[in-house]
Symmetry: C2
Subunit: 395 residues, 2 copies
């Protein structure tokens, strides 16, 4: 399909979602009622709920994806060999992508749209809590898209929500080129365990801010506040702060003032506890915990070596920050910290496809193969080599 | 490590191999004797055998890798965001790579060297037939490398050769970032089944030459001869030829003449059998068989549509060729055939890291994620993002 064809279909899908608004909301109401009856927590129920506004958001997001540049067909490399062979490396779709996800019904649309934009077919397998919403949304995408030429079955929602269906799908490497699980650690573990095809996943985000002794205390405190409090439930929120012993006491005084209004719970080592009334002692477990909450662990370190070692040992290779006025130290930290995104004097919260300028994001990979960090449209593609000759044979 | 440090260590490893020549050859003699005693086939024993010349080849190959450009640190992208954040995407090592392989002892050196050049640690697990050779080679690399500063344990050979050790290794995703199996289909299947980390593999090479009705008959026949006979045991050898019905009878006459001296066995459809004395009838199974031998299956097709459909159905997405004088048809074929390397008027045998100009090759991937086709040094790397700011927070 040409880019124009795909974009026409995307816009028709947005129309489909708008046209089927009432049936999608009715289906969603069933899921919400069932969730409340089952006694699911309020945040869980909220994540499930759609309303006219969030549904319009889904439709608008589809239109935005239609506006994004198409990575398929991009020439990634071009060279000529001494024997005259003209080589080209071009971006192509991956093929068939399985998306296994939980609760949020908007993933049905987000994932299908991004895969479609990149020329991939999608097999969606959502969770039982959202099955009515997912089914209605997938039907709306399909019905809308078909009017503009969407091939039938290029977006498929599997009607099974039992756990065995995950294992089953994960073994179908003859049909699926890639599986992307989106959800809690239990789901991801299950997929990784069973999968015979490549999996791109997002495990924990145990993210750090390291405050070097040359750091501006005000900047460091503000970056920690933003990293911890702007969205504590995000994977790129700060969980642990490491502070150079030199100047630590002064810095803790500043940080306490900056964090005070937010009510963040602090868990610290002895150095922190000595100067921070109300702080709790941090345990060994704290250093590798993703709180996803208004909790922050703080450790005093002897210097950059210990900070790097701590991050590479306890972190999750996701997002780490150094705050420093020393460019050499910052460059060393960025080089030696083995994480997808390593920032100097900026908030952890910038590890995000939108903030990177990717336009869309299917997730943030904690893997090192194929896609690392924010995963946009280009990362939903593979490549192939085209070689043009005039009869060359190998000697 | 700097590139210069790594290259010094590589050259010291080559010296190590030369210095320990006698002990490596003595160890190899044990393996060869055991293989002969066990009654292994002659080709199997030959693959196992080292001699002074092949060992010098191993040492020389190490020195060649030292001369290759270092992909680590290469800046793959660079841009600035509206908020002033300076973004960089840079190539970095993957981490720890497990190599699981069979028989050929030279893989011990090849794999360890390429991984080391790209800053990766290697865990080698070779087969039982070559255990003495592998142990001696790994010791020589380590002893030589250490003199120039190779960290201990950055190249490790596992002393277990039982099958359970493969499963065990494949579950250690806490320690290994990637596994590359090199060997027969049984081994690869076993690794894929057990692995919890990414696997880059090479399954079959069922490669095609499609002869379009506009093709030069002479060129097409020569490309088939080269693809089939230059090295029949190679994964990029031709297994099936597809020929447009228009002009097929003429073409078969040419092809028969060109192939005659080679003694290739031909298995054909009815159109072939009618004009090719001595050809055997092809069965359904032939279309998906990797012969790795002087056998060729030939099918007459109605045109480009059928050829593309046949290749995408029966092929292994490895290497396919169109021979045609029509550039539009060739471009369509290259676009629609879903294979790692699609050539126009050139031999399948060019799907090779060396022929691509990559300088070295750890294998040819039939996967679509991370690495597809010839896998050189760049494909043994991951990337990370470095983001530089001056206090930016997310709003």
């Amino acid at each position: 399909m040409t880019t124009a064809q795909k974009n026409d279909i995307l816009r028709a899908m947005a129309v489909g979602v708008r046209e089927q608004r009432d049936s999608i909301l009715a289906a969603n109401a069933k899921d919400v009622a069932a969730a409340e009856e089952k006694g699911l927590s309020k945040p869980m129920v909220d994540r499930l709920r759609l309303d006219p506004k969030s549904l319009e958001g889904i439709a608008a997001a589809i239109e935005q994806v239609a506006e994004l540049p198409d990575p398929v067909g991009e020439v990634l490399g071009k060279w000529t060999r001494p024997n005259g062979l003209a080589m080209q490396k071009v971006r192509v779709p991956i093929g068939v992508i399985g998306i296994i996800y939980e609760s949020r019904p908007n993933v049905t649309s987000d994932a299908a749209i991004l895969c479609f934009k990149t020329g991939n077919a999608t097999i969606l397998r959502g969770g039982s809590e959202a099955i009515h919403s997912n089914t209605a949304l997938a039907a709306a995408l399909q019905a809308g898209g078909e009017k503009a030429g969407l091939p039938q079955d290029s977006i498929q929602l599997i009607p099974f929500t039992d756990r065995e269906s995950v294992d089953h799908l994960a073994k179908m490497d003859r049909y699926l080129d890639l599986i992307i699980p989106r959800g809690g650690k239990g789901l991801i573990e299950r997929v990784v365990q069973a999968a015979r095809m490549p999996v791109i996943k997002h495990y924990d985000g145990v993210c750090h801010v390291y405050v070097h002794h040359t750091a501006s205390h005000e900047m460091a405190a503000n970056l920690i506040l933003n990293g911890k409090c702007q969205k504590p439930s995000a994977c790129n929120a700060v969980e642990t702060v490491l502070v150079d012993r030199e100047g630590a006491e002064d810095f803790y005084a500043t940080l306490r003032e900056v964090l005070r209004p937010s009510g963040v719970e602090v868990r610290g080592d002895a150095g922190v506890l000595a100067v921070w009334p109300g702080a709790k002692p941090a345990t060994e477990e704290d250093w590798s915990t993703e709180y996803l909450d208004q909790i922050l662990s703080i450790k005093t370190v002897s210097g950059t070596d210990e900070a790097i070692q701590h991050i590479n040992t306890y972190g999750s290779h996701h997002t780490d920050v150094i705050v420093s006025e020393d460019a050499t130290v910052a460059a060393r930290f960025q080089h030696e910290v083995d994480s997808a995104v390593v920032l100097w004097n900026a908030s952890t919260r910038f590890n995000d496809g939108g903030e990177f300028g990717f336009g869309a994001e299917i997730g943030i990979s904690t893997d090192k193969l194929h896609a690392r960090g924010p995963m946009g449209l280009a990362e939903l593609c593979s490549y192939k080599y085209l070689v043009n000759g005039n009869g060359q044979v190998r000697l």
